[in-house]
Symmetry: C2
Subunit: 306 residues, 2 copies
């Protein structure tokens, strides 16, 4: 099994014809001068959906707007309050804010749409209508998608997986490794702990993590307790310079953090993973979300279908 | 300062005129018979944005579709592969799948739009155009919003906050409580650990958590180490029956898990939080996301604006 060290994320080359901007290239690519744009995220729930989605759209623009999240707007009174805030911003800044909304109650939505001086992006209703036609049923206009989630199997799986990740962090316990969905291996500070916690929290996946330490490299074998579970091991590696920087924040000027030692450990780790046939990737230029998704795609594709 | 025990999430009453469905009420509210719908989430990145957003729209319908996430679709070849899969599903199931896409490259998007037999919901471009007009700049059609995030300040804050949450879990350390943004208090198993980790991972907020234990109740005072930091404490409480159920999974038939003890601890905990003027909420019917958002709104509204 080969490594996954190449980066899956492609930064578009602006000279590549595939990535030509939609508008004529004479259009300026930087934001016009003036105060920063303000973007509101207004929701009857947490606003996390609105903000996640809004952010991924905004990342398509070379501007850095100010973010304001207004969660739990579940009455027309609260909607009017937010509208006043939006209109005040419009006045002070001399331009209308962009307002991403996820509001299912039509009355509350109407307050924002009709009274605010912002550019309202109604993320929900744009897609609800075609889906009503497709499914042949009406939507239920129910506020709060998380509302009864806390009693669900999916939710208790997440909580249980968080406990599992904590109990199996940094090789603390080899008990119940059989119950792990994934075992992350790699040198100290290569990103194993945040990835395990993310896999638990976002996907309800039980991830143990196990450090590869100099003793393992001297024996030139993975820790014995992992041998029966090699098929569910996944390796993380990292650029030695980056690793040295991270380790130096923890233990400045130590042998542990020295660039020579980091180079040696990383090389040994990669050699071992190749030898043992453990799939791996480099965490250097990847976010936790990307690492977790890549692991699931390669090791547990079933977890991307449910 | 009052408690926050009332639930912020409102489940709409179907008889409430505010929540009347958009279509005539004669429309059936249950899915028509037949195989389950399949929903695809196709993205050039992790697909998490597509899935988060798609899920929150799908939660408006009384159906439970099968989910298939297809991340890292960053070439037309991969797009054709997904299209074949979608079309196969359409054929086998006798109806077209719903396909939520976040694809910024127009060529890759065109493959899915033109060749797939699914109902394609193009989440990106719907909103990009009005924003290009608003901002007066073209979008950069760049794949992978996380791509250089791993070098950003925001990202290193998240990683550092995760370490902080782990080091300050369950009252393990009272060192550097001064550096905490939030200190969660509450009886054992009231949801403090997952909430601390979520605050770190999602918001880069440093959250310590501190259990309230029988000795604290006997002294009728919060732990001395918390006294200087009362203003950044936030309490979690929980329904005693729910707590007993959760604790019984851990330590069956123990005094710790008994309903009498749970009732006593919860009552003592709530009394103490009231007396000390610590804001609190009940985690019983709330998701981690909702708890975290409520805490930020009440304690650190600055963290909802940046």
């Amino acid at each position: 099994m080969g490594g996954h060290s190449k980066c899956n994320v492609i930064i578009a080359d602006m000279n590549d014809p595939n990535f030509a901007p939609a508008a004529p290239s004479s259009t300026p690519q930087v934001a016009p001068p003036g105060p920063r744009h303000t973007v509101y995220f207004v929701s009857d729930g947490t606003g996390i959906t609105a903000e996640t989605f809004g952010n991924s759209i905004l990342s398509q623009f070379a501007i850095k707007p100010r973010h304001v999240r207004r969660p739990f707007i579940d009455s027309t009174d609260k909607a009017h309050q937010v509208v006043r805030e939006i209109n005040h911003t419009a006045e002070v800044e001399g331009r209308r804010p962009v307002v991403f909304v996820t509001l299912v109650n039509p009355e509350i939505l109407a307050v924002v749409k009709e009274h605010s001086r912002g550019l309202v992006m109604d993320m929900f209703n744009t897609f609800i209508e075609p889906l009503e036609a497709e499914f042949g049923i009406t939507s239920n206009h129910r506020i709060g998608r998380f509302s009864d989630v806390s009693e669900s199997k999916e939710y208790s799986d997440r909580i249980e997986s968080i406990s599992f990740a904590l109990a199996h962090d940094d090789g603390q316990s080899t008990r119940s490794l059989a119950a792990a969905d994934v075992i992350l291996v790699g040198v100290s500070r290569s990103g194993k702990t945040p990835t395990s916690l993310y896999l638990a929290m976002q996907h309800g996946v039980k991830a143990a993590n196990y450090p590869l330490i100099p003793e393992d490299f001297e024996r030139a074998r993975i820790p014995g307790s992992l041998v029966p579970f090699k098929a569910k091991c996944f390796g993380l590696t990292i650029d030695p310079d980056r690793l040295a920087r991270i380790r130096n924040e923890r233990r400045p000027n130590s042998k542990y953090a020295s660039i020579e030692n980091c180079r040696w450990e990383v090389k040994q780790g990669e050699t071992m993973m190749k030898k043992e046939g453990i799939a791996w990737l480099s965490s250097t230029h990847k976010s936790i979300e990307e690492i977790a998704t890549t692991i699931l795609r390669d090791l547990r594709p079933d977890r991307l279908m449910y």
